[in-house]
């Protein structure tokens, strides 16, 4: 089987279970392709030889009852992995090797998967293009010098380029869905509280959520089934009955009511996006869904609200990186001087910008005007969705207001960069699940994604709608392997 890396996760699992492929063969194939794909800069840390050793060990005594039997996979470098360097894309954690494993990755290894390495991301997941990483930009396999989206840019690039069959990312304001959209893959941001945050380097605690990224909806459903679990070590983890998402996956969505929020028709939205959305509505109708116009009146306030809440939490979450206990330390004359030098040299510009915004909005005298107000608006945004869900089962929107842009195109314009998250951010603020599925191409041939937003804890329904639409859309990613010489 020459085209191992072209196979979907489901195919790989079937072939391993049918003993047509060994874990070692599969792992070697992905390692080889990853080795040839260094130009993409998708990896921060490669753990290839250990991965092949683990695959060999798996093959000696394969447990084929597991959900991910001997499947190699790379993960975003925001998940702490025991004895494997975990950087969060930052200089300040450049030398940090955890002695512990995140719950989400532990769930994955428990089901037989094998770590290939750690994938590049925006520094502390703060970015929409992977350009804020201390370890450099990541190339989008769609085209040279195109951003793969962010913050899970290494993850989206690696899945689209078939360096890993699947991966996990984290999504605070769109960091799974936007890069999935930019690279023509599927990315799910689960309901807040579905996946444990234990062992994930925190960005904004009330918004962060881990989720699967894959080539298709079924693979995404399978990985979600593996990573979603109640965890006592995370006080915001929610103990609810989780489905067998793959087993219950169906393309029968007849009669499902899908809402189209008028407020998502933003000013200056490219016609391509408008057209894609219309196409999406037609696909949904083709699947037998009922389309209902809805209103989410506070949508306009989502982005500013997000850019108060997220930096506020980040400014506090990142206070622990002070050079005292672990990570990078710059010498200083005294404690304060050491702090200042460590954090000035250890954090990049975007992270420093957000720490400053966050510190400002929490300051005495500004707290009520910014943070408290933002929390109130956040509640209103959530109420909008609650109202809408009285009428509909899910909501359909574009994933992003544009296709992928060129590296460097928006680096000097943070606001234009932030606008990228305009459709994804409300979902995080409301704690809802959202999925991005590839749905078409723009004039340049770059992929475009559609976002489906579900009710809280209703990932099954969300996946079913995505699964049904995926079938109708029949998207084919245009990857030319341009980076392989």
């Amino acid at each position: 089987m020459s085209d191992i890396t072209k196979q979907s996760l489901s195919e790989l699992i079937k072939n391993i279970k049918d003993k047509k492929l060994s874990s070692t063969e599969v792992t070697k194939a992905f390692v080889e392709r990853s080795e040839k794909s260094k130009e993409l800069n998708a990896y921060v840390t490669e753990d290839f030889s250990a991965a092949i050793d683990k695959a060999k060990k798996f093959d000696e005594n394969p447990n084929l009852d597991l959900k991910l039997p001997g499947i190699p996979m790379a993960v975003k470098d925001l998940f702490c992995t025991k004895n494997v360097k975990t950087t969060a894309g930052s200089k300040i954690l450049n030398n940090f090797i955890p002695t512990y494993e995140s719950t989400v990755t532990q769930n994955i290894w428990n089901e037989g998967a094998i770590l290939l390495g750690k994938l590049n991301c925006d520094e502390f997941a703060m970015g929409s293009s992977n350009e804020t990483s201390f370890f450099g930009c990541v190339q989008n396999p769609i085209d040279k010098d195109l951003v793969p989206g962010g913050s899970s840019g290494g993850s989206s690039s690696a899945v689209a380029a078939q360096l890993t069959p699947i991966t996990i990312g984290t999504d605070t304001g769109g960091s799974i869905r936007q890069p999935a959209s930019f690279t023509g893959i599927v990315g799910l941001k689960p309901t807040y509280g579905s996946c444990s945050r234990y062992g994930i380097v925190a960005f904004a605690s009330s918004l962060d959520q881990a989720g699967p990224m894959a080539q298709n909806v079924r693979d995404c459903a399978l990985l979600h089934e593996v990573i979603s679990s109640y965890d006592e070590k995370d006080s915001t983890s929610i103990d609810f009955k989780r489905n067998n998402y793959v087993k219950e996956l169906t393309n029968n969505i007849k009669g499902k009511k899908i809402g189209i929020p008028k407020e998502y028709r933003v000013d200056a939205m490219p016609k391509e996006i408008e057209d894609l959305w219309k196409k999406g509505i037609d696909y949904a109708k083709d699947c037998g869904a009922e389309i209902i116009d809805i209103s989410l009146p506070h949508t306009n306030y989502a982005l500013p609200t997000y850019y108060i809440v997220a930096p506020a939490e980040a400014s506090s979450n990142l206070a622990r990186y002070d050079g005292v206990k672990y990570g990078f330390r710059a010498d200083g004359e005294n404690l304060i001087d050491m702090y200042e030098k460590t954090r000035s040299e250890g954090f990049g510009a975007e992270v420093q910008r957000r720490i400053m915004i966050g510190t400002y909005v929490l300051s005495s005298g500004y707290y009520d005007a910014y943070y408290l107000k933002a929390q109130k608006v956040r509640k209103l945004i959530k109420n909008d969705f609650d109202e809408a869900y009285k009428k509909v089962d899910a909501i359909l929107t574009p994933s992003t207001p544009s296709s992928a842009f060129k590296i460097g195109e928006k680096t000097n314009d943070p606001v234009s960069m932030y606008l990228n998250d305009i459709f994804t951010v409300p979902v995080n603020l409301a704690g809802l699940p959202g999925i991005s599925i590839p749905a078409g191409h723009d004039a340049k041939g770059y992929p475009l994604g559609l976002q489906i937003i579900g009710k809280a804890f209703d990932e099954q329904n969300l996946l079913n709608i995505a699964y049904a639409m995926e079938e109708k859309i029949n998207f084919k990613n245009k990857i030319t392997d341009w980076w392989i010489k």
Partner: protein
């Protein structure tokens, strides 16, 4: 009640100043493990041996509330007759310091777990009520050690994350003596509850002391200064005395008081400015997004109420009503649970009045001398009870009892055995006493005649002689009676 007599005032020329004090007591919650992690809280361990990944704030680590600490805080709130808030919120208090690994302390700011309550003080001139503003749960920080190396500071994180209750009083205290009584009463209540051991040497109880002064009769509060982290009652009193006088001197000189945070230097016995109001930290409090609001049900609180033992105020009331103790005696006996337990064990089988006197008098003095706690008393409650019964039934006199008591202090011996072994039993046989008295009168004929001729003062001399000859064992009452007849 002569309140004026004990009023604490600072006098300068024509002016009298009243001192206004409020306390923020930091009490370590008695708990095996920390507030948000499972690390041990045991005192005195090797540095950095009781530190979990959470305590050291490693990336991705999350706090999980320790239910036991929540129960302890609620029980303390019940003990302070305070309002228990069914919904409270943990906030982050953000500041940088080397021994604060997270870069923030998890505390409660706007919505504490316990609201307003009160503490009753027993002052010499009567009772005084001190208002409690609030009680909240928070994490302790680690410890910076500056004196191990000339250039470096070392950090011990064993304390990092240990649960503290911050108990904030209203500015109701007016003198160092009241502060003494308040801290002791608070400690007593928490010890009864088992929620804080109150061990000040180990840092389980410390306080920030807010002090201001105002002219006597003024209703307006003066500008206050906060003296940080004072770790003994004596130092609190000294710091207040110094600080109040410092403030009065400034006012007398026509200067104003700066609102600031001060440190108490125990060696120089003075307070020094630490930081002014302008330099005060902006802690940027906000609700900790890693923790959901803490919600407790009525049922949860009611169940805890059932676990509350009889507290000092109620016990005192019972002692006065049931055992007819004076308020003074009752206050002393209920000051801690162990003492009151001891007392109640002694009086199970012996006279209350005698027991009270012996415990407050002889026993406390003897324990004090040997620097022992009541729990370490060489004399068990059972044996003290026996001793009291020996006095009560006339087997020994009060004087002999003191000798027996001294013997008992050497080791918990049965007083009956001591009396037998040492032949200390009181002589109450009238015939034996008559013989003894006859002999004394015989030996002192001249004095007997003088007595008969009217020198009645000599009666005491004869009593003394009889007691001397009997080796102190003669029943003094009988001696008196017989002597009167014989002389």
């Amino acid at each position: 009640m002569s309140k004026d007599k004990s009023e604490y005032l600072i006098n300068r020329k024509d002016n009298q100043y009243e001192v206004v004090i409020g306390l923020e007591v930091h009490a370590q919650v008695t708990s095996e493990s920390k507030l948000f992690s499972t690390s041990s809280t045991k005192f005195g361990a090797e540095p950095n041996t009781q530190v979990s990944l959470v305590d050291a704030a490693l990336p991705g680590m999350l706090p999980v509330i320790n239910e036991y600490c929540v129960k302890q805080a609620i029980k303390t709130g019940i003990g302070l007759k305070a309002k228990i808030n069914k919904r409270s919120v943990f906030d982050r208090k953000n500041y940088f310091y080397a021994d604060l690994p997270q870069g923030y302390q998890i505390s409660q700011f706007k919505d504490p777990i316990v609201g307003e309550g009160k503490v009753i003080l027993d002052m010499p001139d009567g009772q005084k009520e001190v208002g409690i503003e609030r009680l909240h749960l928070e994490q302790d920080a680690g410890k910076s050690i500056h004196d191990l190396d000339p250039k470096n500071t070392f950090v011990d994180l064993n304390r990092s994350g240990v649960a503290l209750m911050e108990i904030v009083s209203k500015p109701d205290l007016r003198s160092p003596d009241e502060v003494n009584a308040y801290v002791k009463k608070l400690r007593s209540i928490m010890r009864y509850l088992g929620t804080c051991d109150g061990n000040m040497q180990e840092g389980s109880l410390r306080a920030d002391v807010n002090v201001s002064v105002r002219k006597k009769g003024s209703k307006v509060f003066g500008t206050r200064c906060e003296i940080k982290n004072v770790n003994s009652i004596k130092f609190m009193q000294m710091a207040i005395e110094y600080e109040a006088n410092r403030q009065v001197d400034l006012i007398e000189e026509g200067q104003s008081i700066d609102q600031e945070t001060r440190l108490f230097d125990t060696k120089k016995n003075e307070t020094r400015s630490m930081r002014s109001k302008e330099d005060a930290h902006d802690y940027r409090y906000f609700p900790d997004p890693d923790l959901l609001p803490l919600e407790v049900s009525d049922d949860f609180i009611e169940k805890l109420k059932l676990e509350i033992p009889e507290l000092p105020d109620e016990k005192k009331k019972r002692f006065i009503e049931k055992f007819k103790l004076s308020p003074y005696e009752a206050t002393i006996l209920v000051s801690d649970n162990e003492t009151s337990n001891y007392f109640e064990n002694v009086i199970k089988k012996s006279d209350v009045k005698l027991a009270t006197n012996w415990i407050i008098g002889e026993l406390f003095a003897a324990l004090n001398e040997k620097n022992l706690e009541i729990t370490e008393s060489p004399i068990s409650a059972g044996n003290l009870s026996k001793l009291i019964n020996l006095i009560k039934d006339g087997t020994i006199s009060g004087k002999i009892a003191k000798t027996v008591f001294e013997n008992m202090m050497e080791g918990d011996k049965d007083p009956k055995k001591i009396v037998e072994e040492k032949g200390l039993k009181q002589e109450s046989d009238p015939k034996a006493l008559e013989a003894l008295i006859d002999k004394v009168i015989d030996d002192n004929r001249e004095k007997a005649n003088e007595y008969k001729s009217g020198k009645v003062k000599l009666f005491g001399f004869f009593v003394g002689q009889v007691m001397k000859v009997s080796g102190g064992k003669a029943n003094p009452q009988l001696v008196n009676e017989i002597l009167k007849k014989k002389l």
